[in-house]
């Protein structure tokens, strides 16, 4: 009961934050909404007993990544006039319809009976939710055994990103 209440609370927060990110015209507000969205997402992780992931979510995204985002936005310091007029174009309407249609289909299938309550998806999920799920040990074992290749590849990706950023930010060649 309490869990359900908390879930809907957090889910509403995530959706509100996420939609504000898209809809807000001032990027600072967008970024702050994203921070809020991440916090509520961390709450959902906690409800799923993934405590470590929840903390990492707050530490890395809300704490570090978003601060750097806000940092850049603050330095740009866009004025209201620079954001341009609010316009409704044909493609925005099309996009809105597409978003609503997708959301409707997903909601209908996810809430309806067609969503898999049996079958391979459930079996795989049960396999994942082993003993000590969400703890440091379980996450560590997953990272270094089942997901060792993507985990190590991520370090390559970060290195490439750093080198790429340096190349782009360097003076003209």
């Amino acid at each position: 009961m309490a869990e359900a209440v908390l879930f809907y609370l957090f889910a509403a927060g995530v959706l509100a934050g996420g939609s504000q990110v898209v809809l807000r015209r001032n990027p600072i507000y967008g970024a702050v909404s994203l921070v809020g969205c991440f916090f509520f997402l961390a709450g959902i992780y906690v409800l799923l007993s993934a405590h470590l992931i929840a903390i990492l979510q707050v530490l890395v995204y809300a704490g570090a990544v978003m601060v750097l985002f806000v940092f850049v936005i603050m330095l740009l310091n866009l004025k209201e006039e620079e954001l341009g007029e609010l316009r409704f174009t044909f493609w925005k309407v099309v996009g809105l319809v597409a978003v609503l249609a997708t959301a409707a289909v997903i909601a209908w299938r996810a809430l309806g009976p067609a969503y898999p309550s049996t079958g391979p998806a459930r079996d795989n999920a049960i396999l994942l939710a082993a003993e000590g799920f969400g703890g440091v040990k379980a996450v560590g074992r997953t990272l270094y055994l089942a997901a060792v290749l993507p985990f190590e590849l991520t370090s390559l990706l970060l290195l490439v990103a750093i080198v790429a950023a340096v190349v782009v930010a360097k003076g003209k060649i």
Binding site: V105, I106, L149, P150, L156, L157, V163, A164, K172, I173
Partner: protein, 492 residues
């Protein structure tokens, strides 16, 4: 489940390439601070590319086996793609050497990024897990974005890189969304588990949605219509050696992954075939049509790259039915290799022309090609050969490649698609031959289009490409056998 160090041998080409990149980045530290001599970098990069080529060919005979608990696979298909990527990198490094040295623009990061992206491409071809696919895709893409922005003289390169980055990130996001759906449907990111879910017939909405989104994400990377908008600007704005590498390498890796996802992940139903057929029709039509009015050879080659993505999609569509699947995969591999050799050669010639223009920040125009044959008959002949090969005229690699692709399409009962492909490639003759006409028949109007210096290495690379193009066209046997041995994993 345990970490098996032997699995590292399976990803040896990618490891070699990444190690090469690290060697190059580290070597920058030891250069003397004033007027450092960076000429060694191209050759170090080429050596590592060659090592990667050797490693992937050496592993070709090994039996297919899963690596890292099923996150990747070491099989013939992946090895052939890795070989194509490494060969493309090898040739591109030599082309880039002459291009960058003549523009005094060599930096260690250039070759390091090229090696990193090739490493990502090799892993992409091996990945059988959506997370691994995504990360390798980003390793490849981030490096290529930066390479496009490498030589920022004039506005076009920055514009190209920015467009590529924004749209590429968008495509990655679409791919991720599809991967999330696939995970929702199957409870796992492994393609094998996804295939089991597809077989079991549960969660169909999520499965279809994920298939469409994943295909859309990769349609962007392979430059299929309607996800092709970025191609002309990016191909035009990037340095010509990078464009050649991008056209050959990114395409090979992206097609390999697309095939892997569709066949290994969604293969049993084969319902995705309709989607790919539609994409193929559109891509062949739009690519060829829009190439016709182009005045810039680089832009024309960009649209031609879109058109070729269409022909490659024909081969992918042919893999939708089980009977000729291995044949179609072999045709795909052969096509990728032949297109790679041709397009790198073509962009190597473009690079020589572009050198002079790059300093002024202008794009190339057909008029700068006029009368090339008078002063540089060898360059003119090579360019004509590459154009003929792209058009698909015998006795070149392009012809054999198209032939095998259309044959496999007919085997797969896709006769209208094959006929449409033949018609569009005949239409393509017009704009390819126009370059040849300019090179040989229009009298030279301006000063020499080629600025001297360091032509030997570029010439070597062009000669190498021309040799491969002719070899694959005249004696395709050994290449076709290699492609078939790689495609054997799809024969069931």
């Amino acid at each position: 489940m345990n970490f098996n160090p032997g699995d590292l041998y399976g990803v040896l080409p990618a490891l070699l390439l990444a190690a090469g990149a690290l060697v190059l980045l580290t070597s920058e530290v030891f250069l003397r601070p004033v007027e450092p001599d960076r000429r060694y970098q191209a050759w170090v990069a080429a050596a590592f590319a060659f090592a990667g080529l050797w490693a992937s060919l050496a592993q070709l005979g090994d039996p297919a086996q899963p690596l890292f608990a099923g996150a990747a696979v070491s099989d013939g298909f992946a090895h052939i793609v890795a070989a194509v990527v490494c060969a493309a990198l090898f040739l591109s490094c030599i082309v880039a050497f002459s291009y960058l040295e003549s523009l005094r623009a060599t930096r260690g990061e250039f070759y390091a990024l090229a090696l990193f992206s090739a490493s990502g491409m090799c892993l992409l071809a091996q990945a059988t897990d959506l997370v691994v696919i995504f990360i390798s895709l980003e390793v490849m893409s981030l490096a290529v974005y930066a390479l496009c922005a490498y030589l920022r003289r004039g506005k076009r390169p920055a514009e190209a890189a920015f467009k590529y980055f924004i749209l590429g990130s968008f495509a990655s996001a679409i791919f991720l969304y599809g991967a999330a759906f696939a995970f929702g449907a199957s409870g796992s990111t492994r393609l094998a588990d996804l295939a089991a879910t597809v077989r079991s017939g549960s969660a169909t909405t999520l499965v279809y949605a994920s298939a469409a989104l994943l295909a859309a994400g990769f349609a962007f990377k392979v430059a299929a219509v309607p996800f092709h908008m970025w191609v002309p600007d990016v191909y035009d704005g990037a340095p010509a050696p990078v464009t050649g590498f991008m056209a050959a390498g990114v395409k090979a890796a992206a097609f390999a992954t697309l095939v892997r996802i569709l066949v290994s992940g969604y293969g049993e139903g084969g319902r995705w075939r309709g989607l790919i057929v539609a994409l193929a029709y559109l891509t062949m039509l739009v690519g060829n049509l829009l190439a016709v009015p182009q005045r810039s050879v680089k832009r024309m080659l960009a649209y031609s790259s879109i058109a070729h993505a269409g022909y490659l999609l024909v081969a992918v569509a042919a893999m939708g039915t089980s009977a000729p699947r291995a044949d179609a995969a072999g045709a795909l591999l052969f096509y990728l290799a032949s297109y790679g050799a041709t397009v790198i050669g073509a962009f190597a010639v473009v690079a020589i022309i572009e050198r002079k223009l790059a300093l002024s920040g202008l794009g190339d125009d057909l008029s700068s090609w006029a009368g090339l044959s008078e002063k540089h008959p060898a360059l003119a002949a090579a360019m004509s050969l590459f154009m003929i090969s792209l058009a698909g005229v015998p006795p070149t690699a392009g012809f054999m490649a198209k032939l095998t692709v259309f044959r496999s399409a007919i085997e797969a009962d896709l006769v209208p698609l094959a006929i449409f492909g033949v018609i569009t490639s005949v239409a393509g003759l017009y704009y390819y031959l126009r370059v040849v006409v300019y090179v040989y028949m229009v009298p030279e109007a301006k000063a020499d289009a080629v600025q001297g210096g360091r032509l030997l290495s570029a010439g070597l690379a062009i000669a190498g490409c021309a040799l491969i193009v002719l070899w694959m066209g005249v004696l395709p046997g050994s290449f076709a056998a290699l492609a078939q041995s790689g495609a054997a994993v799809f024969g069931r």
